[in-house]
Symmetry: C2
Subunit: 346 residues, 2 copies
């Protein structure tokens, strides 16, 4: 892109506050030498942090906001009273076209509510979804929805397939990503009505989507398909179950190695390899959910992340803005419409 | 128990046939010196396998069956035409009170349909569920339903809580197991109607259940509660996602260690510890789903398991029979009824 890309940041979101945001910026700025950043947050907290990082000075603008959204604030409340928060203002910069993308590590429900209110949902998309990148045997896959929509009908699942496919092309650089619907078996007769209907629409629509049919839970980590589509209830539970299992295995590994002298020696010798393993599985390296289906790009970083994790989410935000994901979703969705009126109406 | 416990086995189920079943029996018989076994299957295949294991001779009875259920047979078909299969006959031995428990590594849907038809569902329980034991940071937890019921209402989830709690007391030896409902957040307002209503019933019922409220996907492996209750769609996907993630991490571990000379040396030295890790995470060691809510005990072993895995499922079957799980479920469920007619009716 010719013009300088600008990222709008909620500097007050997340559990650890503006310290990790500024540290993440210092990392990210090395990788993105032409990007600019608008930091929304408490000037008194941000000033001293930025003063130590002289290289950030001409690339970062601070916008003071007197308030911030708390992790337990209800979305309905912050919609009414949250206009002076760093989160609201971070989204507003995207709405005003000052920035291409906004990022926050704050309250997910509040962020989604504010983003929907300010940016609006893309025409033809019924509800936005949150997508996550998942490490697999083959690399990375996109999983959505991981928490925005508790229950979904067939049409929504089809929308998620279109959005996820466009996202995978943009972010994973795949020409023709394969798309699977998460189910309890791969046979056509399995599952509830919504997944069965969605599969039927995806099979019959003349969309240029490589639809691979149903996939099971184990296929996510196996990387059987590039995009895994599911409702937000199942997707959220799958994501957190996967993260929990990874933590469990790494914990077992540590205690298995500590449990014997030979294990400790072996672990010490292999420590470089084990560090590489931990990095690959660290949630902070594939950190961040992406809100798809809005008139603007919003990236949600993990609330409990560190500077490396927030920097990873920043990288993803910049990649998304550069790849023009929204334009692709609009084009793909427009292509879907004429072919499936009867199926989508069921 | 004074009298000899008898286990009825579908010797033809699973991907690898009667060979692993007989090998598993040879293992299990050492641990259960007074148990007896009825093997239902093809005499021509079983005869030579048993001839090599002289120690099994006086403990195992073979019942010839001319047919077997295939992995892709539809439940509705085998219900009509499957009376001569090893699976049908294995369940029939429990119905006839020749055996306390039946076990099969075959087609799950067919096994559940035949078990419901022959044994019937416990009075007051709306639908049976499949429970799985899940390795956690603290030991093991019970997760149900992992696949029998695609969608569940609040009353069914409450039934699962009662059954899972009784199962955890019997198998995990806990006096007062804690029970959580799987959801996308721990706040009361989260989730769909069925989980919210189920939580309300479990909170207000004067059941002696330690109800811990909502838990999230990550809580399963953390072992936050002893019993995790969910619908069969979500539970199946969570289980398979967890298994897939464990496979992924172990695969990463192998290639991380192989990737460098120091890693290989360290891996060799630590190989005992790593073997212990693999054993702990091997699906074959915690292998087997348990059908709860029937007038009889049915254990489903993993279709692709080996002899060690099938032996693990056999151990669990014997433990369940000895612990009198069904009697406990009936007693607990009876206690639930009088207190929640108005809540359960909603």
């Amino acid at each position: 892109m010719a013009r300088e890309l600008t990222v709008s940041i909620d500097a007050m979101g997340g559990d650890s506050g503006p310290g990790i945001v500024v540290a993440a910026l210092a990392r990210s700025i090395l990788r993105h030498p032409s990007a600019r950043f608008i930091l929304h947050g408490d000037e008194a907290a941000l000033g001293p942090l930025l003063a130590k990082r002289t290289k950030l000075a001409d690339r970062v603008t601070v916008r003071h906001t007197p308030e911030q959204v708390r992790m337990d604030d209800k979305p309905s409340l912050v919609l009414r009273r949250g206009r002076n928060t760093s989160m609201w203002r971070a989204i507003e910069s995207v709405k005003n076209k000052e920035a291409e993308v906004a990022i926050s590590a704050g309250n997910t429900g509040a962020l989604m509510a504010m983003a929907m209110f300010q940016l609006g949902v893309l025409e033809g998309i019924s509800r936005p979804a949150i997508a996550a990148l998942w490490p697999t045997k083959r690399g990375q896959s996109v999983v959505l929805d991981v928490g925005a929509n508790i229950s979904c009908d067939a049409e929504q699942l089809v929308d998620f397939a279109v959005m996820g496919e466009a996202f995978a092309r943009a972010i994973l650089g795949l020409e023709r990503p394969s798309v699977g619907l998460l189910n309890v078996g791969s046979e056509e007769v399995k599952g509830h009505d919504a997944v069965k209907e969605a599969a039927q629409i995806l099979r019959t629509a003349s969309l240029p989507i490589e639809f691979a049919g149903f996939v099971e839970g184990g296929d996510i980590s196996d990387g059987t398909v590039d995009v895994v589509v599911t409702d937000g209830f199942t997707g959220n539970i799958a994501l957190k179950t996967g993260e929990g299992t990874a933590r469990l295995v790494i914990g077992y590994l540590r205690s298995a190695l500590r449990g014997s002298l030979l294990g400790r020696i072996g672990g010490l010798i292999a420590s470089g390899s084990l560090r590489a393993l931990r990095r690959k599985l660290d949630p902070s390296s594939s950190n961040g959910g992406i809100f798809l289906g809005l008139n603007g790009i919003i990236v949600k970083s993990h609330g409990g992340t560190d500077a490396m994790g927030f920097a990873g989410a920043l990288d993803m935000a910049i990649d998304m803005a550069e790849a023009g994901v929204i334009t692709r979703i609009i084009a793909d969705h427009a292509e879907l419409q004429p072919h499936t009126p009867e199926a989508a109406a069921s």
